[in-house]
């Protein structure tokens, strides 16, 4: 190995240097992505395992070990596979969902619905949330441009105008649709009683019940949507966007969040409402 390292830097032509630099860059990006998501998900142990494996392999290369190439490819392949399995979904979410969010954000203010219609819907949602909060009635409302058909199919399709009375009625206890989420899309209540994926986070406060976990879970899977949650126990109104939760919302704060969610305000309001992500 020592001899190889010596030759590595001697007598090399330009194409070889370029090829090595490219390979090093690709591997460095792969490692950095793995380290970045490991840190983000508090899985620092993976960083130590990956680095230790590599250092041990490099150390072993100084000895004359039979079938050394097999061990190198096996360990590196195993590490790569583990990283893809561990962080594949995060990478996919960050690349595709965030890209869609930034570049292809659809405008809800269409020819069909003007600002006045959407403002009216925002007022209706706020009114409904306040009434539900006063009566400690649990509610989960999703405001989105687009959502998986699986989620819509899990509930009952409605396709009706947004009104406070309708939303209140849908969450009235002991009715068939009260236990799921109401989905508001393109200024219409498109479905009610929808079942949502729960978040897998384990460090959430104990007072977060299934409704809050579902809201966080669905916004992790669909970062463009905003979920409004009314707690059944405390009546606290919360909003969740991209896995972030804001609690104890009053009418003004809720209006600001809903106005952004329903595209009455532009994307520049995003950071003032939700702050920056840890990675931004």
């Amino acid at each position: 190995m020592l001899e190889y390292i010596y030759n590595f830097f001697a007598d090399v032509d330009i194409p070889t240097i370029v090829a090595r630099c490219l390979l090093a860059l690709i591997v460095a990006v792969f490692y950095f992505v793995a380290f970045y998501y490991a840190k983000k998900r508090n899985l620092e142990a993976i960083i130590y395992v990956l680095t230790t494996c590599l250092v041990v392999l490099f150390g072993l290369s100084f000895f004359d070990i039979p079938n050394f190439a097999f061990y190198v490819y096996f360990v590196l392949g195993f590490c790569a596979l583990a990283c893809i399995l561990f962080f594949g979904q995060d990478v996919q979410r960050d690349i595709f969902r965030r890209a869609w969010k930034r570049w292809f954000n659809k405008d809800m203010v269409t020819e069909e619905y003007g600002h006045e219609d959407i403002s009216k819907s925002v007022n209706e949602i706020i009114k409904a949330c306040q009434r539900l909060s006063k009566t400690d009635t649990g509610a989960l409302i999703l405001i989105c441009d687009d959502i998986s058909d699986h989620i819509l199919e899990s509930g009952t399709r409605l396709n009706s105008e947004v009104s406070a009375d309708l939303i209140e009625t849908l969450f009235f206890p002991k009715t068939p649709l009260h236990d799921g989420a109401v989905v508001i899309m393109a200024n219409k209540v498109v479905a009610a009683g929808c079942y949502l994926p729960l978040t897998q986070q384990t460090n959430l406060p104990r007072e977060f019940g299934t409704r809050h976990r579902a809201a966080i879970g669905v916004t992790e899977a669909f970062p463009t949507l905003t979920a409004i949650v009314v707690s059944e126990e405390t009546g606290i109104i919360s909003a969740v966007h991209d896995g972030k939760i804001q609690r104890y919302l009053d009418a003004d704060q809720l209006r600001k969040i809903l106005s952004y969610a329903m595209r009455l305000t532009d994307n520049s309001q995003l950071t003032s409402i939700w702050g920056l992500r840890e990675d931004e």
Partner: protein, 42 residues
């Protein structure tokens, strides 16, 4: 409580500063991989 303050925009400099250790570690690991792959492929 909700966050109504306008947060300061953090750029690439902040990102690199925050993750500088990981950038260096990634480059070191990449160099080791290139050396290893080159060594077993010679």
């Amino acid at each position: 409580m909700s966050n109504n303050k306008q947060p300061k925009k953090k750029g690439l400099g902040h990102f690199l500063k925050h993750y500088f250790g990981y950038v260096v570690l990634s480059l070191v690991c990449a160099c080791l991989v290139v050396l290893l792959v080159g060594y077993i492929g010679q």
